[in-house]
Symmetry: C2
Subunit: 615 residues, 2 copies
């Protein structure tokens, strides 16, 4: 039953041969990579306006345009810089790899930590933003926003555990529908404005009460809020090997198409905001307000709200692809637990996916699924990793002998300087609002990753055998054996286990600990009926506990054993063939196993006894 459910939810297991088919062509790749960046128009413009409107009032709509232009300029620089990375790292050069190879391990880990935090926030922010599009259109869903976001994350987790290609096919349709919607919105919105002029002015007490003046700090603050529009841009360069051949060329084309899309959609909606004056703060997103101004309460309004919601949820997918892949790279380098490299039955990096959705879900819960509260944590990591990648690229070109390396150095230097300044601006402007959390987390993560690496190294050192050791090792019969079989009663399972034990050694001890005197007596009587010289040691536990006295006894025997004696504890274990059967059995055995492993040199053996569930 559970197996059927798992199959329905996660699909049939994929054989390894199917792995190669899981790669992106240009349209699918663009759909997967684009969602993160283009969905951010749903909140980036809003965040800029949030900063401006309380200070500048109605002049904000004018300045919104200029700040959007600054961000588009930054987009231009980043696009060129990232095409350089695709060129230099055909095997996939995320900020982690570029920084590690060119700037050393420590800075590589800083980039890795930034990216991991960034991926987690991508999920939290995008999912929250997607649900905000829905609650804008259907305000009575507002009280359920957190629940809707969490459910969305769970659904995405399941889709991603099914495997990436199938996911991207599902994801590409809404991406293109959203792009279509945006083209219609911007085109029709601009035409409508020039035909019919501005709509009647709205009441915006927040804006009309504004009394502040324009300052460079205000502009920088608004700029740092808007930088969230550029998150997700690095996805393409990370994922070069995931593209179909010629993967480098395809990735480059996708990168350029993506930037074009951001330019058009982000620029276009900023223009519409200037024309249609959305109100802030409001229960509805500004994109929802603009769309309503342009299309009214029509099909197109709901079409855009729903595609915005879906594309925002799909934006999470960038992280659901990127996070596990990055974790797997880090784990292969020994900086994270090795299980992050284990692929699931559907060839997805299951553990990374689950970890990602768990942490981002908690963030959504803590921050009440409020995009505005999450944003200050978001951009720091992104721009820090941008900066490190650009810096790494400068070193890369300097050390390379390729022709034209000087031009490349210039390009990446410009990128480095711009992203570095942006990082400083973001940290400065957003520190108290949440950026401090990221500033603290990054060194903690770097330290943790270094510790993991040290641990694996120390272990390898301890386990190492030298050539001389090998030659001197004899693998003859060195040990005699004592096998102890813990039994609760004499049944078919314990009898089989005793037979197995007896054929290993003559020194078999049956050990029974019980808090029930009657049961112990019954066991002794039955034992006498059994024709055996195996020793039965039965202990009555006065204090209900069974496991502790059993462990104590085993400890005593282990301490008394000589160097040539090996103690094996053989535990009969019921094996059921229903998923719930295992919930009903073997918990005592599990506790004994865990405790023995941790404390002693006793070998623990499990003797399976298969139960017939179907009878």
């Amino acid at each position: 039953m559970l197996k059927k459910l798992i199959k329905i939810l996660f699909g049939e297991p994929l054989s390894n041969e199917q792995a190669a088919g899981e790669k992106y062509n240009i349209p699918f790749g663009l759909a997967v990579m684009a969602s993160d960046s283009i969905s951010s128009v749903a909140y980036a413009g809003q965040e800029i306006l949030f900063v401006l409107i309380g200070v500048l009032g109605l002049a904000s709509y004018y300045w919104l345009g200029w700040i959007s232009l600054m961000i588009i300029g930054l987009l231009f620089i980043l696009t060129i810089s990232y095409i350089q990375i695709i060129k230099a790292y055909p095997q996939g050069g995320g900020a982690y790899i570029v920084a590690k190879e060119n700037l050393g391990t420590k800075l590589g880990l800083v980039a890795a930590a930034s990216l991991l935090i960034d991926y987690i926030l991508t999920v939290s922010v995008s999912a929250s933003s997607g649900v905000a599009a829905i609650t804008s259109a259907f305000p009575n869903l507002q009280p359920h926003a957190v629940k809707l976001v969490i459910i969305s994350i769970i659904i995405l987790t399941i889709l991603n555990l099914r495997g990436v290609s199938e996911s991207s096919k599902i994801f590409s349709i809404p991406t293109y529908l959203f792009i279509l919607g945006m083209i219609l919105l911007i085109t029709y919105g601009v035409i409508k404005y020039f035909l019919y002029g501005a709509p009647t002015a709205k009441v915006n007490s927040f804006a009309t009460n504004a009394t502040g003046t324009l300052s460079i700090f205000l502009i920088l603050r608004a700029f740092s809020s808007g930088c969230s529009a550029l998150t997700g841009l690095e996805a393409v360069s990370n994922a070069v090997p995931s593209f179909k051949e010629p993967s480098q060329k395809n990735a480059k084309i996708v990168m350029i198409l993506l930037s074009g899309l951001i330019l058009f959609i982000f620029g276009g909606t900023s223009l519409l905001a200037r024309f249609y004056h959305p109100v802030l703060p409001s229960n509805a997103t500004i994109l929802s307000q603009i769309t309503f101004s342009v299309f009214g309460n029509s099909f197109m309004y709901y079409f855009i709200q729903i595609t915005t919601a879906i594309i925002s949820l799909m934006a999470c997918n960038t992280a659901f692809t990127g996070f596990p892949m990055l974790m797997s790279v880090i784990a292969k380098d020994g900086f994270a637990p090795r299980q992050f490299t284990i692929k699931g039955k559907r060839l997805s990096l299951s553990i990374g996916i689950v970890v990602l959705s768990f942490i981002s879900g908690i963030l959504v819960f803590i921050f009440n699924a409020d995009v505005h509260n999450l944003i200050p944590l978001y951009s720091v990591g992104v721009f820090l990793s941008f900066t490190l990648a650009q810096t790494g690229m400068i070193i890369h070109w300097k050390n390379s002998n390729e022709s034209g390396w000087r031009k490349c150095v210039v390009i990446n230097s410009i990128g480095m300087i711009v992203t570095f300044i942006t990082t400083i601006i973001i940290i400065h402007e957003k520190f108290l609002e949440g950026a401090w959390i990221v500033i603290i987390l990054i060194p903690i993560l770097v330290f943790t990753m270094s510790s993991v690496w040290n641990h694996y190294n120390k272990v390898a050192e301890q386990l190492k055998v030298l050539k001389s050791d090998l030659e001197n090792t004899s693998l003859g019969k060195k040990f005699t054996h004592i096998v102890i079989v813990p039994i609760a009663s004499l049944n078919k399972a314990s009898l089989s286990a005793l037979q197995y034990a007896r054929s290993i050694t003559d020194d078999v001890i049956a050990l029974s600990v019980s808090a029930n005197k009657d049961e112990l007596e019954k066991l002794k009587i039955k034992w006498n009926e059994l024709n055996t010289d195996i020793l039965l040691i039965s202990k009555y536990s006065t204090y209900r506990q069974v496991i502790t006295p059993l462990l104590q006894y085993l400890d005593t025997i282990a301490d008394a054993a000589s160097d040539t004696e090996k103690i094996t504890v053989l535990m009969p274990q019921f094996v059921t063939h229903t998923w719930w059967g295992n919930l009903l059995h073997n918990h005592t055995g599990f506790f004994i196993r865990e405790n023995l492993l941790r404390k002693s040199n006793i070998i623990i053996s499990t003797y399976p006894y298969h139960l017939n569930d179907d009878k």
Copy 2:
């Protein structure tokens, strides 16, 4: 580090001798048992008013009094009925035991299911109600209500995992402070009303717009909402053996004291509501509004809000005591997984506690921590179990030979009739609002519990050995052994494991599967340096996966083995002595173990290799 944290959170482990000290005397027992019942005044009156006020308007305050009197009448009948149960079941007679013994297993399980649901809702409702008292006093905490409730449940879980006696001592102080506060509130509120008269009438648009008329259905609806005041009454009779000796007498005294308290507090606050006309719906609870009317913005107002909050949270404790205890009883009877009987290091039934807090936390999340939405699910289970307990008692007295059994039959018959009618009223009035969920859940739970019982029984049947079997079993040496040691490389751990394997049998096979050709080559070279006749089988896995080909190979060998050959897979396992060390190792081993266990008759042995973490 983790161990230290666990100690701080959960306290030092309690030895079994300390178990006896964990019992209640009268004041502590009252404090633990009372919280559930008396904290319900914080919402029961409110729920009655909620039903009335939209229909009857200002006349509601008058009818509130009469409905409260009906509920107090019900309280009187239930108290007498439950004292009967304490008399008849000194070993603790919850509805489950009374129904099972007198009405048969099926109805016993119905009672058990009702009680389990009831306990879960006690936690959800009480914790939400407690937080509502706080958000009434501090309205800017309102958006964080769900989070506060979840945090409260987590804190209570930790306290309860520490053990019950310590908990009850912590819990008794706020209970008595709350009782003190209520006495002051009711006394001063009544005196103030008679000295100064009613306060100036408040605007209550909801009440003044009401145009409905009084009907019997309205009264029944209000009555069914108010019945939540009587939840938790059964706690005393469940917990007779937890009282100090003479436990029966102590329990009876606590039962009477408890009813007196409910009478005074519930009756008193209903009276105050009639005098001071709290407004509904409102962001503040009606208890908060009444208290504010009586004491104004004074110390006493905050005192009562805070003690209300604390006692409501402590009310959860009734469930944290009752749920795991009931689960343990059910599990001992074979109707629930046996691990519910396992006591933790602090003598608490840890698994039951964790299950309870998990499910109730999810309910809080789904229902937005809104008491009004949770109430319809609450009372059904309570009154269904009341009815079953009373019915069971009638049969009990009929079958007993005690003098005066006729009088007892009459008392419990009245109890049965009244609670049965109340159950019908609640189901009828609250069906669509949520009672249907409980009506569906109860048969599902009963079916599940029966299935668990069937499973344990079938297993016992399969394992049973007859006397003749025992006499014919020979425990001599019957088997020859093949031991397979999966190794990834030649290191100290794998060498030790091979030595152990070799001393069991000559048929040892070292098996290595790798996706890395270089590693395999290195292993082969090293193996040749080793002077051994042990067979090394190395397999190159073309598709990155390691576990699947390994399992396939083991399957092949297992299929080829004869009846007298036993296959043992010996896995070297690294043991680390830091809590995080285990996160970094042995995951492949774990997967192999799980898969082998499920499929084959292969014995799985773990060879521990202790790593020196502290170096």
